[in-house]
Symmetry: C2
């Protein structure tokens, strides 16, 4: 599931419109929750886990938390898998 979310974040603008454009600050948690069809707490925890793993970054703007892929870190994981 978290993997699916990570994939969705490749097209930030495929999410509904929001105050600040998604391709700039990331996708609002609310929208991620809606697409994932999980509870708010679960969505929040998913993103917290991804953030702890370094795979996404969080930009807070006012009351909104926006999440973006950390391409650098994701590529690093891919590289480390490639040498398995």
């Amino acid at each position: 599931m978290r993997l699916a979310i990570l994939g969705w974040l490749k097209e930030p603008d495929s999410f509904p419109p929001q105050d600040r454009p998604a391709h700039e600050v990331g996708v609002c948690l609310k929208h991620i929750q809606a697409r994932a069809e999980v509870s708010q707490s679960t969505a929040s925890q998913f993103m917290a886990t991804l953030q702890r793993a370094g795979l996404v970054t969080c930009t807070r703007v006012g009351q909104f938390s926006h999440y973006q892929r950390n391409e650098e870190a994701i590529a690093a994981v891919a590289r480390s898998v490639a040498i398995c």
Copy 2:
């Protein structure tokens, strides 16, 4: 742990000698168990799991089960991770 085993199998000849050369038929379960320092049942289950996942192949010769990496399948996994 299973990941570590998969890595060890890249150098089959780094394991102790066995009836049939490891680079031909794969590494005997016994040797994998010894290096992993787990029980026989656990080692057997690890390899069964890797085999179900398609990441290794098993060649049985007499009473010995030999395991080899399935480079094809491993590369496929790496590729699928790369597009995350």
